[in-house]
């Protein structure tokens, strides 16, 4: 439901009644085919929201070229005709879009609709908006045209943006040579904008934009002005190091307070203090404001209407052990609404909210969803090809450039073609029904559609074939729109090419065969490896959803690393929550817990894993499961530096929590111990917050104490920033050090001397400490490797588990059916582990809720008469889907032969095997060598 907003929520968990107001689109979604003719004719230009006002759109428009749904809409506040109608004028202007719309989709009389919808639960994922620096004035945004926001810069860099990716100054179109990025605009700044929190994502996107801009324009100079570089995510620090060392991006630690114009030519002047402490004035062509994230006003109104509480930073209030649960029962939150976060974390929360919903609604699963029913399939084996060709006009999109009648006439001459017809829109509902009727009436056994791209429309035509009792793989599309009528401007050439494309499609479909659907049964149980907070949360959620779960823990008791923690960053006590979790897990009848047990062997594939567990006593148990969650945690680094273990009073962060601090006056925290350095170039993410929290506690206990934190970049990201503020206001001293000037720790009688180079004085200072706390980092465990080999799941360069896609599949493994949660994936605080654990459960539940998975039939098939078991394909298969079988000899005394076997569940149909096979012994169904070469021959036939 687009153009829709929630205006009221009544009822309670399990049974809400939601009022949704749907604004008029003025374009009939069923009729619009997104040809774009209307936009071309529309005379009214407005700033494009999508391009962040760097470009224009029309009053009738599509939000962006790949929008879903790809349907146009009229902006009622800008359209000449609609505004005139609203004013009650009699003589109405314009109306061009209606005139040019062949599909008849324009409806100026469309009205607002109200829907009452009954749902069991609600997920709020309304997102954020970028901070608007116009009113703050100090940066000259809105005054000097060459000051842009990072979102605008993103559009300038984009090939689909206003300058098609060329970096030119908005003021005069001059090529940009020098760009400055100013960080923390609208973040960590209570004075100018009231946003005290850190937006978490700006440091990383600024680096990315700087690197990409340099790639666009060789020789471009880029400087990032920052307070702390907060690149705390997975592989972020490595990216920053590459930006510094390989791409040559300058990083300057200085907050720039204003931007001044230098004369009238558009240049901008920044004055700042450089890394050596010298006051500098420098000129730039372009200044990019790295704007923060904030909750939009309409979302705050939505929150108020929904009755859910928000924090002081105006984000949805949640608890650390239930990070996607709002203050109202049955309403969940995900994404930037519950605090600024990056894409992977937002995606994790999307899945986590799904898990939380499923926990509540499990009894009602499958109640409202329906399975489509299709008629029995006709067996066409042995029939001569009887091909139906359907040529689509696509309104004037195809028919305007291609002589479709000529194409029709030509198609009739092709071998095997039994029927040809033209449709105004082959994809329309009535044309689909007509197609099904023709298939049945004429006994067609193959279909070629000359229309648009199979990437969007093949699924639709497959469904049509199914509904006509024909196997869905007996259709082929000729892309005479995207690859032809849209890219050529000669009717003669386009018509000829359309004929060629139809000939190729007919040639290919002639050799198409019915493909049996492939389905794999699913064992509806899960195995969770690791009994920490992540593992327990995941197991518990799956059990609440109704699945049987086995939970394996290596040590003697459940709880993991959380057993060593006192408080979460927001101050919640950890121990009682962990105790509660352990209790719930132990008492849940669907969960079987194995402690002092390890995974010793694993085999199988999605839906059908077999894992061998080995107890301390050597007893082995084999578990069959459909999905697996790896939540094995991580280790704390044991420092070897700064006199740890040698000098009394030098402790690590965990020791410190339980250490006796009574009577001690002087404390020094050293950050990044074992993190962010050669060999371990990643941020451990939790240490800054932990040290700041400890420092606050020390000061609160005794304000006369001297507490120092020696840090590289203070990474109290997102709403944690308030802890950093509080620590400073309590008088905690923060001293910045660089990696090449690490502190020196030496014993000096009863005290410990810590020497560090002061960044303000630029000279060494010595602090006399009673206690030195090393904020030691987090390391992967030594047994990650064996686990990764057993399940064929990979590790990243730092030794943590590697997810399938850094942004969009953050809890899946590339191996289907296996998921990752918690610190095994990357160091993270508790609430992020919980969110990822819930996400892993949601992802696993999408599998386990089905009895079988149906897979696309485009898979490798073995021709055992040709395969001689040479096994060349076994090694090239990227999915480890091919194995070698030995076939017993049929004749007595003969040697056994070999043949390959393809595991259809693992095969993705890429066809590397097909290209490798010297004997044509294996081929991807639907893309056989015969089909492809028939297409090539047809292409070259004339």
């Amino acid at each position: 439901m687009t153009l829709s907003e929630v205006t009221n929520i009544s009822g309670e968990v399990g049974n809400f009644n939601v009022t949704v107001k749907e604004a008029p689109r003025y374009v009939d979604m069923d009729k619009c085919i997104a040809c774009g003719a209307c936009t071309e004719k529309c005379p009214k230009k407005v700033d494009s929201e999508y391009d962040a006002a760097t470009g224009k759109r029309k009053a009738i428009y599509v939000k962006y070229s790949q929008a879903v749904p790809l349907k146009y809409q009229i902006d009622g506040s800008q359209c000449l005709r609609l505004t005139a109608m609203a004013k009650g004028k009699e003589k109405l202007p314009c109306g061009f879009c209606e005139q040019v719309c062949d599909a008849g989709a324009i409806n100026y009389n469309d009205t607002e609709k109200t829907h009452e919808i009954n749902v069991g639960a609600i997920v709020m994922a309304p997102g954020f908006e970028a901070y608007d620096p116009t009113n703050a004035k100090v940066w000259g945004f809105g005054v000097y045209p060459n000051v842009v926001t990072s979102l605008q810069f993103e559009r300038y860099l984009s090939a689909t943006g206003p300058t098609e990716g060329h970096l030119v100054r908005p003021s005069d179109g001059k090529k940009v040579k020098k760009v400055a990025f100013l960080q923390c605009i609208g973040s960590r700044d209570e004075n100018t904008c009231g946003n005290g929190y850190c937006s978490s994502v700006c440091c990383m996107y600024a680096i990315k934009e700087a690197v990409i801009a340099k790639a666009h324009e060789p020789g471009l100079e880029t400087s990032i002005f920052y307070m702390d570089m907060r690149t705390h995510g997975k592989e972020f620090d490595q990216y920053m190091e590459r930006a510094k060392n390989d791409s040559g991006v300058n990083f300057i630690r200085c907050r720039v307070n204003s931007v001044e114009p230098q004369g009238a030519n558009g240049d901008l002047r920044l004055s700042y203090v450089n890394n050596a402490g010298v006051q500098i004035e420098e000129y730039f062509d372009l200044v990019v404001l790295s704007v923060g994230l904030e909750t939009p006003k309409h979302v705050l109104e939505l929150a108020e209407m929904a009755g859910i509480e928000v924090t002081a930073d105006r984000f949805a209030k949640t608890k650390d052990f239930t990070p996607v649960t709002t203050t109202r029962d049955g309403i969940f939150t995900a994404g930037a609404f519950a605090g600024p976060k990056d894409i992977p974390q937002a995606v994790v929360e999307g899945s986590a909210a799904a898990a939380a919903v499923a926990d509540v609604l499990a009894p009602a699963r499958n109640e409202l969803t329906k399975e489509a029913v299709f008629p029995e399939e006709r067996n066409i084996a042995g029939e001569e090809p009887k091909i139906g060709v359907f040529v689509c006009h696509c309104g004037s999109n195809i028919a305007g450039m291609v002589d479709v009648e000529a194409v029709e006439a030509y198609a009739k001459t092709l071998p095997g073609v039994a029927h040809v017809e033209r449709n105004l829109f082959t994809c329309s509902q009535d044309a689909q029904e007509g197609l099904a009727v023709r298939i049945k009436e004429l006994g067609l056994n193959r279909v070629a559609i000359a229309a648009c791209t199979p990437r969007t429309h093949e699924p639709l035509f497959r469904e049509t074939l199914k509904s006509a009792g024909l196997n869905q793989y007996l259709v082929e599309m000729a892309n005479i729109r995207n690859h032809n009528s849209w890219v050529h401007d000669s009717k003669e050439i386009a018509t000829k090419k359309a004929c060629d494309l139809v000939r190729m499609a007919v040639a290919k479909v002639t050799f198409s065969a019915s493909l049996a659907p492939i389905s794999v049964p699913i064992t509806q149980t899960a195995l969770v490896i690791g009994g920490g907070v992540a593992g327990m949360t995941s197991a518990l959620n799956l059990a609440e959803q109704g699945f049987v779960v086995t939970l394996v823990e290596k040590s003697a008791k459940l709880g993991g690393n959380a057993l060593k923690l006192d408080h979460t960053w927001s101050g919640e006590e950890v121990a009682p929550q962990v105790a509660k979790l352990i209790d719930q897990v132990n008492w849940n009848e669907k969960i079987t817990v194995f402690t002092e047990t390890e995974v010793s062997a694993a085999e199988g594939f999605v839906g059908n894993f077999k894992t061998t567990l080995k107890g301390k006593d050597g007893v082995e148990t084999v578990i069959e499961h459909g999905a697996g969650v790896v939540a094995v945690g991580a280790d704390a680094y044991q420092p070897t530096e700064y006199g740890y273990g040698e000098i009394a009073g030098v402790v690590n962060g965990i020791d410190f929590d339980s250490a006796d601090k009574a009577g001690k006056k002087n404390f020094v925290f050293i950050q990044c111990v074992g993190s962010r350095e050669e060999g371990h170039m990643y941020c451990s993410k939790v240490c800054c917050t932990h040290s700041v929290q400890s420092a606050i506690a020390l000061k609160k206990e005794d304000p006369s104490r001297n507490v120092y934190i020696l840090y590289r970049d203070m990474r109290t990201y997102a709403q944690r920033e308030k802890l950093y503020r509080e620590a400073r206001s309590l008088g905690v001293m923060f001293i910045n050090y660089e990696i090449h000037g690490k502190p020196q720790v030496t014993k000096n009688g009863d005290v410990i001397d810590v020497q560090v180079i002061d960044h303000v004085l630029h000279r060494p200072v010595i602090i006399k400490a009673d206690m030195v706390v090393l904020a030691s980092g987090i390391r992967p465990k030594s047994d990650f490797k064996t686990l990764s080999q057993m399940y064929k799941i990979s590790l990243d360069g730092d030794g943590f588990f590697q997810e399938a896609h850094a942004k969009l599949r953050p809890v899946d493994f590339a191996t289907d059916g296996m998921f990752v949660a918690g610190m095994a994936h990357y160091p993270k605080p508790l609430e992020e582990s919980v969110a990822q654990a819930l996400a892993a459960s949601a992802r696993a539940a999408t599998l386990l809720s089905k009895l079988e998975v149906t897979l696309d039939a485009i898979k490798a098939q073995v021709d055992s008469s040709k395969c001689d078991g040479c096994a060349l394909c076994v090694d090239v298969c990227p999915y480890h889907a091919i194995s070698l079988l030995e076939v017993k000899a049929t004749a007595e005394g003969a040697a056994p032969t070999k043949v390959i076997d393809v595991n259809k569940a693992k095969c993705k149909g890429c066809g590397l095997c097909q290209a490798t096979c010297p004997k044509e012994g294996v081929a991807v169904a639907g893309f056989t060598l015969q089909q492809l070469s028939s297409q090539v021959s047809a292409a070259l036939a004339i």
Partner: protein, 65 residues
């Protein structure tokens, strides 16, 4: 008449074929003498297919993925 090469392009469904679709959406004009054959991965293109194309008169073969 000037020489007009015949070119066969094997395009991966997930990237180059999608790119060709987008070129259409953006109405980018390009020479007409390319014929695109859709494959599920450029890795599926057997060397014999390429040789086949040349034998049957193709002047150029592109494998895009």
């Amino acid at each position: 008449m000037s020489f007009e090469p015949k070119i066969i392009a094997f395009c991966c469904n997930w990237c180059s074929y999608a790119a060709a679709d987008l070129a259409g959406t953006a109405r980018m004009q390009y020479p007409h003498n390319v014929r695109i054959v859709r494959v599920m991965c450029s890795g599926m293109v057997h060397p014999e297919l390429v040789m086949d194309a040349f034998q049957q008169g193709a002047d150029g073969v592109m494998v895009l993925g």
